[in-house]
Symmetry: C2
Subunit: 340 residues, 2 copies
Amino acid sequence: MSVTIRDVAKFCGVSVSTVSRVLNGYTDISEETANKVFAAIKKLDYVPNNTARMLTRKDTKIIGLTIPDIKDPFFSENASGAEKLLLENGYQIFYGNMERSADKLLNYLQQARQMRFDGLIITPDEWTEELLDTIRRISMPVVALRRRPPQSSGVPFVDNDHYKGAMEMMTYLTDLGHTRIAHIVLPTGIGAIRREAYRDFCQIRSIEARDVKIDLPANKLDQARENGYQAMKRIHETWPDTTAVFAGTDQLAIGAMVYLREKGLSVPADISIAGVNDMDYASLPWFDLTTMSLNRTEMGRAAAQMLLDIIEERRPHPENLLLGTSIIVRGSTIKYKNGG
Amino acid sequence: MSVTIRDVAKFCGVSVSTVSRVLNGYTDISEETANKVFAAIKKLDYVPNNTARMLTRKDTKIIGLTIPDIKDPFFSENASGAEKLLLENGYQIFYGNMERSADKLLNYLQQARQMRFDGLIITPDEWTEELLDTIRRISMPVVALRRRPPQSSGVPFVDNDHYKGAMEMMTYLTDLGHTRIAHIVLPTGIGAIRREAYRDFCQIRSIEARDVKIDLPANKLDQARENGYQAMKRIHETWPDTTAVFAGTDQLAIGAMVYLREKGLSVPADISIAGVNDMDYASLPWFDLTTMSLNRTEMGRAAAQMLLDIIEERRPHPENLLLGTSIIVRGSTIKYKNGG
DNA sequence: AGATCGTCCGAAAACGGTTTAGTAAAAAGG
DNA sequence: CCTTTTTACTAAACCGTTTTCGGACGATCT
């Protein structure tokens, strides 16, 4: 069919192993032979068959990277951060789009095993027993992104420090003078962590905790805006004197804004709103949204670095990594004005 | 290292070829043997080595899918449409994130060749000679998405019918009574097609063509909003009596709205605005954007179908495919009111 | 001159599957 | 009862690389 290493060898009258050596940059080759081989390769338009190469070598230089939902730009940025570092280190990336399905993930892990990937970066929506079991069985380096695995699993992971971030946001809001602050909680592990921070904060400052949890399963978060709307409605009906809302997502924040707009309330004059993520349209003048910004690409990069460290055995048991977040202050939050 | 087909064979006292046959569903196997083999596979937790399998077979059941920019949700939806169909047909998808770089694409094609993919769906930003040459050399089925290749290339492609869609949009706007309609042109092939439609339309209806082209290279379209702003500025300064704007993208449309907002002009009272794509936030009440909606997932699906047809030789030379678009009417466009 | 040492290269054995060709035993046909 | 066909399986070649081991040959040392 296509031209093989044997053709190249024959063409320039050397052995197959010599050609292989040249290709892999061995030094025990005379310059003359090397040149002959390179010329032949170009002439015959020879391209090594990677599947054959993978078969003999123990490594494949492929690492798998799962994306929970390819339509969500957040994950895309995660991915591109990881990709960059991996490419620089000579690895190929095999993306897997999970579409928020646990089965797809399980299936992807099997594929990864069949193809003998060198490692995996995964972002499961949930850590089930079955998942942990599969990870154990495929016996390949895995690092987790954005969803903390059980400690017992031994899977290292990287995420933003949502606890600290939420604390900072709450500090910022109270510094503005707000004391009646509601919180819209995502139905995910991250949501839980931020709620913990929120409640801890409320307790420390002795202010009332007003959190509302989105009641959607984690695999349907794409209707975030509608949920923000509903959550804001509940907040407004339950605690009408709320002066600030910390939403678990910019999407939720904007959903909340839609509700307020309908009710004729204005942001930030009547109520301050903050989100999380710094999505690209958060800065539009209509929203001008104060938000807790996460290190999107940096996270992916860090996870990739951690994985490489494991694969190339620079570190046997890397610890978990929590990246810092920052508050981006925009116009949707202002000082609390008594009776204003 | 890990358990191979030979281990399975030994374990249940049959030959390697028998196990292979069982795995591949051959019928000349007694039920008894088959069961023994399946049991052994489960017991030993055997997983076939896909790289070895790929080496002997001529097909790999892998198809490559390039994404120009993983951060752009438009392409993501393309991809997920294609992915669905391909998975259903037993293919794995190997995504390639091009980050708008022609070099990355070239490199990806080389990889595809080394790994012996069965086929490729690509969305190049530009059709260069080098690209065409590489496609020719890798000799594998390719279909193009969203960027029309030169006819001579023989590469089939699928896209939305932008010419027809633009015509429809212009018809819609003139039906509303507008005659001074500006058009913001994308600096891509698609932009050119729509401009052609726009100009043809203007000529037919004897109205003035007012098109402004974004002067950004195709690989920097992420600043679309800023460009929409600038384009609207130019329109407003050049033709202050413009009553409607057809923007090449929702992003551009929103950028235009930002400008108008700054100038104290209101949409749609002072000027009607329409976009293209029906991005998820187009429906937000602040924008409520009339838009030309494209078949995002359907496109990907169609391209995948076309590729499968070629690979499985159902069709030797598929023609190009142009999908229909539709106008989604929202509040950003209204009837032209003379002196209103 | 013989022993020792580098340098450059080749033969052959993997790697883990698939597939072709063939065979022994059982069933069917005459 | 002998031949043909079918059934259920196996041996071995093959896919295209990498890698180990060793060999030839010229240079250097004693």
